[in-house]
Symmetry: C2
Subunit: 457 residues, 2 copies
């Protein structure tokens, strides 16, 4: 994370990491310990969240736009991520690289990332620099210079990024087609970085249309975390972002949703560059935004108990007891505007086969469907989840990310504050019901990534 | 095909039959025998094709719109087919059912169908009724009454249609998900009838927007085949359709295209209602519209030699010689605006397994990839394909369908005339190359439809 020009070129792939980090919206709020988080909305529609954190003279300034790859027009895949790159070019006020140079000069760091549902830009600097960050960030919200001699070379950068990160990676190519199979109708089917043949066609008109449509104060959330005074931040935001005109009202973010899925699907890739076989099995499930009350919390606990770490059933059975897997686990992507993914995954160890790993994980799922989980598992998994929020509290930018990701995927500041209580309310029966309802083998999408000689056919 | 109200309710499913019929654009043209087909365009943009056929006092009047389900907005699946239903409702000039009643009164027949790329309406009547057909058809191109009390009940009809034809049919449900897996980016992924949850949301505003956008003379092709005089037809079209104002110019029909596909995919459904197991294996391949010169013709010959009928390799080997299949074959959907499907399929007979059928068909593909086809097979398959155009000539509405489907999927009248010569130019090497290039097991999508007890897992 040392500042250097072009570091944002990796951003599209960081979203996975960022998403994992905020898989469950965490909060350092509790009944005893009222958070000092303050939120307000400027007249032009910009939502602002301020999270005081006075442990060190550092401030995290993150601007989140409520636009990600799932908001792209059909045929224009990759424009959201492409635009993230373009935001590092010059504006009518500041030359190319000037913003990054300033951050570097003051010993700060910066980054940006694009996901299915949001695009975010952040800087971490000394509090004295906060106002300057706001000025630069507000400037590039509306004043970017989008000429062909900016667009063309940056498109080449993105094509090269896709070449190196996806086209040359059987893991990435396989993952793309697993997702394209999992989602039959929803745009989460399409990779964040975009399909190569569509990236190649992105042009200046696409960029300008995207900018004018989505980059406006009324489509953004500002998160400021750090050693700051709330009143001062408020004044600063009004004097910088507050001067930008509201953009046109955007329609609700309603994307095509999934039909009922009835089939079991398999996506297989054999490639000589694959060393060890691996698989993942995925289902479309509700997210924190789309679930009925408590539904997402139950899925979070299910992922934790089933395969969330070293105490989980999958880890204990496959890695510790049977010793057949080198890696195995479960994962739930709870923070998502629309229905999302629950997955299990594994890779064999030594002479064990991939089939043995898959069967053992299926058996763990079946046990939970049939017999549920114990009260002890329930309580310990809750404790682990709640404790992870304590760790998150130690990471200023991590906290800022939780707020930004939640607020750009349909959640509220209150949702974050109430999450611990909602998590605590989950029962063992809720978890068993979630497993029975969603982890249906007849509707799963399974991806096999195999060494060349292991072709299953 | 006896005329009765509501017969168009089955239309979405007829497209498959219609498409099969026009899998290869056929023509009764040859160097010796110049066709008398005449085509012209009215000032308002309506393309007209007249095919004189004086064997019987009958005329086929077909109006084709260049809009199908693949032109729908994301989230609005089913609107093209829904609209086909609405076209049988009343206009500001004629009450509901008046058009159908007139056809019935004069002993005619009518139908309509919706496909991925087009929507068509046809009547077959005595030539004396042609002008009246034009008047009615031109009237409903622009004067439909689209009120909520028309829309609501018809949406219920379509929901019931989907219930009975898809939701209650494991074959149909499975076929939908096979296609949703085959196409990762292109709208051919979405069923023509639409996803149930999206059909349920279609409303008056959607219908009006669709009508105003796509139902205009400059987005339609009229095909008249039968015992008519070309000059008279021309005068009639000018006096009926010619009075309709041109609609707004439509952008080119550019849909999102497929990315490179790298994975082998399997889509499996086990259902207690399935009596005998079956499978299909599919690939995305070029269509007559997207292929390089001669490419689609080679795929047509490949489908014919591999599995096009009783003389094909698959039929002879699996059904006649080995006796392991009750049905098996190959099929190429050549008439398509965008890249399309090539498939093989089969079902076991007696004690044979589905695996044996699949392996035997794979072996036939491998033989062609490795050893090509014989000159004798090449010539005989060409003769069969060319002879099928002779049969088509015997069917007036069949001829009209060939012209309509070709002209609404990017082809021309000349393409139809030149097709026999282009087919004759295909070499055995072209066919072998097409098999090697496209029928790659590593990129195939295989669908298994199984009785409940046969679950492969």
């Amino acid at each position: 994370m040392t500042p250097r020009p072009g570091r944002n070129a990796r951003a599209a792939f960081r979203f996975a990491l960022a998403a994992a980090f905020v898989a469950a919206p965490l909060s350092f709020a509790s009944a005893e310990e009222e958070p000092l988080v303050e939120s307000y909305t400027l007249d032009n529609g910009l939502e602002v969240v301020v999270i005081p954190d006075r442990r060190a003279p550092v401030v995290t300034h993150m601007l989140w736009y409520k636009v990600g790859s799932a908001d792209e027009e059909p045929g224009k895949s990759g424009i959201a991520h492409f635009f993230e790159h373009l935001m590092f070019k010059g504006t009518s006020t500041h030359g190319p690289g000037e913003f990054s140079a300033r951050i570097s000069d003051v010993g700060g760091r910066e980054n940006a990332f694009t996901s299915y549902d949001y695009t975010a830009y952040f800087q971490q600097v000394a509090p004295t620099e906060l106002r300057t960050m706001m000025e630069f960030e507000a400037d590039r919200m509306r004043n970017l210079v989008l000429t062909d001699d900016v667009i063309g070379p940056e498109r080449d950068v993105i094509i090269e990024e896709r070449n190196s990160r996806v086209e040359n990676s059987p893991q990435a190519l396989h993952g793309e087609e697993v997702n394209a199979t999992l989602y039959q109708n929803h745009p989460y089917r399409i990779p964040v970085i975009g399909w190569m043949h569509e990236i190649e066609q992105l042009n200046r008109a696409d960029a300008i249309e995207f900018y004018d449509r989505f980059y406006a104060p009324n489509n953004a959330v500002l998160v400021v975390a750090g050693d700051v005074d709330v009143a001062e931040v408020r004044a600063m935001t009004e004097e910088t972002y507050g001067r930008i005109e509201r953009g046109p009202d955007l329609p609700p973010r309603i994307r095509p949703t999934e039909p009922e899925q009835n089939t079991k699907r398999i996506v297989e890739l054999s490639d000589e560059r694959v060393g060890v076989a691996s698989y993942s099995k995925r289902w479309v499930v509700p997210s924190y935004t789309t679930a009925e009350e408590g539904g997402a919390e139950a899925l979070d606990i299910l992922a934790e108990v089933l395969g969330g770490g070293m105490r989980s059933r999958i880890y204990q059975e496959l890695i510790v007891k049977q010793g057949i897997a080198s890696s195995a686990g479960a994962y739930y992507q709870g923070t998502s505007l629309d229905d999302t993914v629950f997955m299990v995954y594994g890779s064999p160890r030594g002479d064990a086969t991939l089939e043995a790993v898959e069967q053992a994980i299926d058996a763990e799922i079946a046990k939970i469907v049939e017999d549920g989980i114990t009260e002890d598992e329930l309580e310990k998994s809750k404790t682990r989840a709640l404790r992870s929020m304590i760790f998150a509290r130690d990471d200023q930018s991590g906290m800022a990310r939780i707020y930004g990701a939640t607020l750009t995927t349909g959640g509220t500041v209150e949702d974050i504050a109430e999450w611990p209580d909602r998590l605590k309310a989950v029962t063992a029966a809720d978890v068993q019901a979630a497993a029975a309802r969603y982890l249906d083998q007849r509707r799963a999408v399974t991806g096999y990534l195999l060494p060349q000689e292991d072709d299953r056919s």
